[in-house]
């Protein structure tokens, strides 16, 4: 079983509402602040992108559902700051001490922003795990979807694609395995593939016989079919 964030294929969400392409990037000022605080805290070096995604996914289903997008970010960040010991519960309650923090020398400076964003955080890695599959080959995804290293842990195999048969479209090289990296168990890089699934393999009532969904899936999510 995965978590509430794993919503691909779910019914009942209603219409998608397009937006003016020239509208504001951050419709409310606090949206931009939430994004910027989150990115800046990343420079403290206490977590990676998989850990921060998992922090949002660990919000209770009630909170995940009622929070708007950037509320999830801020809640995940606050939880992560306490979990990593950067802040205490007293700090969050406004009752902690001011003054320099041991990590303050890592704070992102304005002059470092451009280069930090340009550098990004590539997940491509060398790996000693050889690719088992090649484009065109049929594969079947693991079932059930879920982290096999940590119960209830982070994974990037959506439930809707568990146990489905598809074909390899391309090899993306080797990438950090989120199931391991999100739990500080090492980067464990392995081959990553784009895998195409016929819509009829995933849905009871596909819209068109030619339609497909393509997912990026790690080798350990896949079996030969």
């Amino acid at each position: 079983m995965t978590r509430v964030h794993d919503m691909g294929g779910r019914y009942g969400d209603g219409a998608v509402v397009p937006e003016d392409e020239n509208g504001p990037v951050f419709p409310k000022d606090w949206h931009g602040r939430a994004l910027a605080v989150t990115l800046a805290c990343g420079s403290l070096g206490q977590w990676n992108i998989d850990i921060s995604r998992h922090a949002r996914e660990q919000l209770s289903p009630q909170d995940y559902t009622r929070f708007s997008y950037y509320e999830k970010w801020i809640a995940g960040l606050a939880d992560l700051l306490v979990e990593t010991g950067v802040l205490t519960q007293e700090d969050l309650a406004g009752e902690g001490p001011d003054g320099p923090h041991p990590l303050a020398d890592r704070a992102m400076k304005p002059e470092a922003v451009k280069q930090t964003l340009v550098n990004g955080g590539p997940a491509d890695r060398d790996s000693n795990i050889a690719p088992l599959f090649e484009p065109g080959q049929a594969v079947r995804t693991a079932r059930p979807a879920g982290n096999r290293l940590v119960d209830g842990g982070h994974t990037r195999l959506p439930a809707y694609a568990a146990g489905a048969t598809g074909r390899i479209v391309r090899l993306h090289g080797s990438h950090v395995l989120p199931d391991s990296s999100a739990h500080r168990l090492g980067e464990a890089p392995e081959p990553l593939y784009a895998v195409a699934f016929p819509a009829a393999e995933l849905w009871t009532d596909p819209e068109h016989p030619g339609d497909e969904v393509v997912l990026d899936l790690w080798q350990s999510y896949l079996h030969p079919a």
């Binding site: 910027a36 997008y69 802040l87 700090d91 964003l117 990004g120 955080g121 590539p122 990026d216």
Partner: protein, 203 residues
Amino acid sequence: MPHDDHDHPHTLLPPDPALRVKALETILTRKGLIDPAALDEIIDTYENKIGPKNGARVVARAWSDPEFLEALRADATAVVKDMGFYGRQGEHMVIVENTPDVHNMVVCTLCSCYPWPLLGIPPGWYKSDAYRARAVREPRKVLADFGVGLGDNTAVRVWDSTAEVRYLVIPMRPDGTDGLDEDALAGLVTRDSMIGTGLAVAP
């Protein structure tokens, strides 16, 4: 490890979202862990410097220059990096090309993965539950929400961005654009056409 049994510390912050962000920013600033001027710089970058105009330049050039398109197919990351479009959330780029036979559309059902260096910060609808839930199961109905209709001879291929690979859709070049230069062509490339929920506009 998951800490599902613990209280969620975020509940200690004020409930109102704007106050909640402000409170966290204040706490972190007082401890020297963030610099508000750096936050201003991040916001300015994504409001004013990085956005869909970057992606539109890539598409316009792909329409105009067959060698460039071939290079994009082989290694999009290196090609867009040469144009200055590399960085956070665009570290591994792949292009997917629309044709009369296949229409590509990009989603992230698990979160909100999106090619920031080429398209900027994703619009609200891209991050919405409705788009994340429906795009993979009923892409044609989602396209209808955007006013886009496809014929039966066109298959839809939905790319669910489940890893650190980011996809840019190269929309079909509109008819009647033979004489246009790259700047004029870039003006026809909408953000939504590069996500796959829209088409490039006719001149």
